[in-house]
């Protein structure tokens, strides 16, 4: 049921003031607002100033009669569908027809009855209200349909790239002229599975997108590591046509996770779109760099320029930069996903020929747990706190000094940067530093000169030379100038920490000397697999199958070599040689030693059963 019309704005037009008074009494008592007009021209001005809800119009008026007033009223913008009721003493059928022809909806004869006038006015106001409601509902329905179309278009657009990978893999599998092997089948089905999941995720997300547009999306944010998310996306995109054309590079940030507060799926969708656009806009062989500023902002930069005409509406619907087949929704849906998470997407100023886009996302509300170090340290006991140190970093290359500052970030140290040797000397002379990291070659005063002058002035700051050169004479020159340590670029966090905490970079135990810390988690499984291979090797040697023992020893040697177990690899080499020579005795002796070495390693890594 429709609501009753109330407090409506009614324009009453009559050249007789008494009539106006009577009509105003009737209508105001019913709760409406009445605006009187004594002439047609005044009625037009009143309607123009504010569109009334209904007009009561006398027919017989001087200057401009009711018919003409009605026609001219209807010509005013917005007034066309305002109901006009005629009131007239002329009661002929012809007069009534003329009134309807002029655009009236009803006709009241004079002398009128208050109840009749009110009843007719109410009916027409009610009709008008219902008509307006219908129009509004219609518009809402149309908007909803349009929105769904748009979301569908976004979805179609985003689904294309994983689908193309699936098709490519399927074509390969289906090629009967060139059947696939078991390993190929595994790889191809792997692609299909991965991309299938990606597509399913997108479909789920499209429903969310609709809710985001309506502002009814229920956000459920958590702390997440954007770097991991971006790394995975970069890998997935590399399999798509856009990823063949150009590549994505994540800038390292000293091993600190890129923590933000958001939803993984939204971040994936957001960056998938932006990265894909950036890859497509890049020239062939181009690189999209992605960097992090530690404050929730990720910056994407690529070669290729957004046309000036598109720039202001890059993140609006249907903005394409001359891309054929593009729907222009990638940027828009990215913005929607960023804003839904309380973030934003911006087109930043970039050097000519480049595009730079920044994404700001909220930082985690809780203080982040201490960041896990990127490098696995074999001996965590060396981890001492560097909090409170004041460090000078002097390097004329801002990229390098920022790199070093990044390595030290998160350590609660104060880091001061100097752009050349002169600035470094000024800093050293004017303040107390725990240590100074000084580039070897700088304008103004080079590294050794800075060290020499600091020492000559009686300075006792710990001085560390950062140098691109290696070699004993170079090191000796640094020490002679007064440096306490020499670090060869690129400098790792571990060695930096080590010198700053007062030690010198210490070598690990002899056996683990060549073992890469990143491989430590893999070693137990590696050693277990070597046991059965050693058994096979021992069997071949025992049965004097030297062709077999040569192959097996060679294979063992490769694995030991890659993992850095050099002494075990050397023993394998000797078994290989003995096998080639058919020397049973030598092979047996070396095999024994190898067994002992392997057992010792298994003990060391806790996998001796």
């Amino acid at each position: 049921m429709n609501p009753e019309p109330e407090r409506c704005d009614i324009l009453v037009v009559d050249d007789t003031p008494e009539n106006i008074t009577v009509l105003r009494d009737i209508l105001t008592r019913a709760g409406h607002r009445v605006r009187p007009a004594l002439r047609g021209s005044l009625a037009l001005r009143a309607a123009e100033a504010q569109c009334p809800d209904l007009v009561l119009l006398d027919v017989m008026m001087p200057e401009m009669d009711g018919y003409e007033t009605c026609v001219r009223l209807k010509a005013l913008p917005g007034v066309a569908d305002v109901p006009v009721l005629f009131i007239s003493a002329l009661d002929g059928t012809e007069d009534k027809v003329r009134a309807f022809q002029a655009g009236a909806v009803d006709y009241v004869a004079k002398p009128f009855h208050a109840e009749e006038v009110l009843a007719r006015v109410t009916v027409h106001l009610r009709l008008r209200l219902a008509r307006r409601q219908l129009a509004r509902q219609n518009a809402e329905l149309e908007a909803a349909a349009r929105m769904r179309d748009e979301v569908d278009a976004i979805l179609r657009h985003d689904l294309k790239s994983p689908l193309s990978t699936i098709l490519m893999a399927a074509e390969t599998l289906a090629d009967t002229a060139d059947p696939v092997s078991e390993g190929e089948r595994e790889t191809m089905t792997g692609y299909i599975r991965q991309m299938g999941w990606t597509m399913l995720e997108m479909i789920h997300r499209s429903l969310d997108l609709l809710q985001m547009e309506r502002g009814t999306y229920a956000l459920n944010p958590a702390t997440l590591d954007l770097q991991a998310c971006l790394r995975q996306l970069a890998g997935e995109l590399a399999l798509t046509p856009a990823g063949r054309h150009a590549s994505v590079t994540l800038m390292e940030s000293g091993g600190h996770p890129w923590r933000v507060q958001g939803e993984t799926l939204l971040c994936r969708g957001l960056f998938r779109n932006l990265l894909k656009n950036a890859l497509e806009a890049s020239p062939p062989g181009g690189v999209v760099t992605v960097s992090w500023d530690h404050a929730g902002r990720v910056t994407l930069m690529n070669r290729g320029e957004v046309p000036a005409s598109v720039r202001p509406r890059l993140f609006q619907k249907f903005a394409t930069a001359g891309k054929s087949g593009g729907t222009g929704l990638g940027g828009y849906s990215a913005r929607l996903m960023a804003e839904t998470q309380g973030g934003s997407v911006r087109l930043e100023d970039a050097p000519p020929g480049h595009t730079r886009i920044s994404v700001q996302l909220p930082l985690p509300r809780d203080p982040a747990p201490p960041a896990a170090p990127a490098e696995v340290s074999v001996s965590p006991s060396r981890e001492t706190s560097l909090a409170g140190l004041r460090i000078l970093v002097a390097d004329d290359d801002p990229a390098h000094s920022h790199a070093v500052a990044h390595l030290l970030s998160g350590e609660r140290m104060e880091v001061i940067l100097a752009a050349d040797g002169t600035a470094a000397l000024e800093h050293l002379g004017g303040g107390v530093f725990s240590a100074a990291l000084i580039d070897f070659e700088m304008p103004g005063a080079n590294g050794p000169e800075v060290a020499r002058r600091h020492r000559q002035a009686g300075g006792r700051t710990l001085l560390v030379a950062l140098t691109a050169h290696d070699g004993p004479t170079h090191h000796a020159a640094c020490r002679e100038a007064g440096f306490d340590h020499v670090l060869v670029k690129p400098v790792g966090k571990g060695e930096l920490r080590s010198v700053l905490s007062g030690g010198s970079p210490a070598p690990a135990s002899p056996e683990a000397e060549a073992l890469d810390p990143d491989l430590v988690p893999l070693v137990p499984a590696f050693l277990k697999a070597r046991v059965s291979e050693r058994e096979a090797l021992a069997g071949a040697v025992r049965s004097r199958d030297f062709a077999r023992s040569r192959v097996l020893a060679h294979r063992l040697r490769g694995g030991f070599g890659v993992y850095g177990f050099t002494s075990a690899a050397e023993l394998c080499r000797q078994i290989e040689q003995a096998s080639t020579a058919g020397d049973f005795h030598a092979a047996t002796v070396h095999l024994d030693t190898l067994s002992q070495t392997l057992d010792r390693l298994r003990r060391q890594f806790g996998v001796l059963d």
Binding site: V180, S181, E375, K489, R555, G561
Partner: protein
């Protein structure tokens, strides 16, 4: 730097694990591995790597056969191919500038750091460092 996809081929899965672990830590590398030498051609066609690193002694076909297969196919003939093997010592390879018998080689007996460095050189990628300096800042021409 146009691509960062690297395909590793070795019938020893632990070798694949070690190398892909290290390579995946580089910021812009996508590694695909296979322990099945007969799968290399198909995988390479779809994966389109920037570099293929392949073991020599494998069953049922050896690295040389794999290379031949790749060279006979138009889609893969131009992908740089490097052998990773224990057959030659690092010193031998260094003396010959990485090429032995007309073939590019990396020794399994090199340190892992050197192996990764060589892979980066062969794939035309920036050299890795222990820390941040792995990745150079993007080249921005002066306006």
């Amino acid at each position: 730097m146009s691509s960062t996809r690297i395909l590793l081929v070795d019938d020893d899965v632990t070798v694949l694990q070690a190398l892909s672990t290290k390579l995946s830590l580089l910021p812009d590398v996508l590694v695909q591995t296979t322990a099945d030498p007969t799968a290399v051609l198909k995988v390479a066609k779809v994966f389109q790597p920037r570099l293929i690193l392949c073991d020599v002694d494998m069953e049922p076909i050896d690295g040389g056969t794999v290379m031949q297969e790749l060279q006979e196919d138009k889609a893969t003939a131009r992908i740089p191919f490097v052998f990773l093997t224990s057959l030659v010592d690092p010193e031998q390879i260094a003396r010959n500038n990485g090429v032995i018998g007309g073939r590019r080689m990396i020794s399994k007996q090199s340190s892992l750091k050197d192996i990764i460095k060589r892979i980066c050189l062969e794939a035309d990628m920036p050299l890795p460092g222990p820390g941040l300096t792995t990745v150079p800042f993007p080249h921005v021409p002066k306006p």
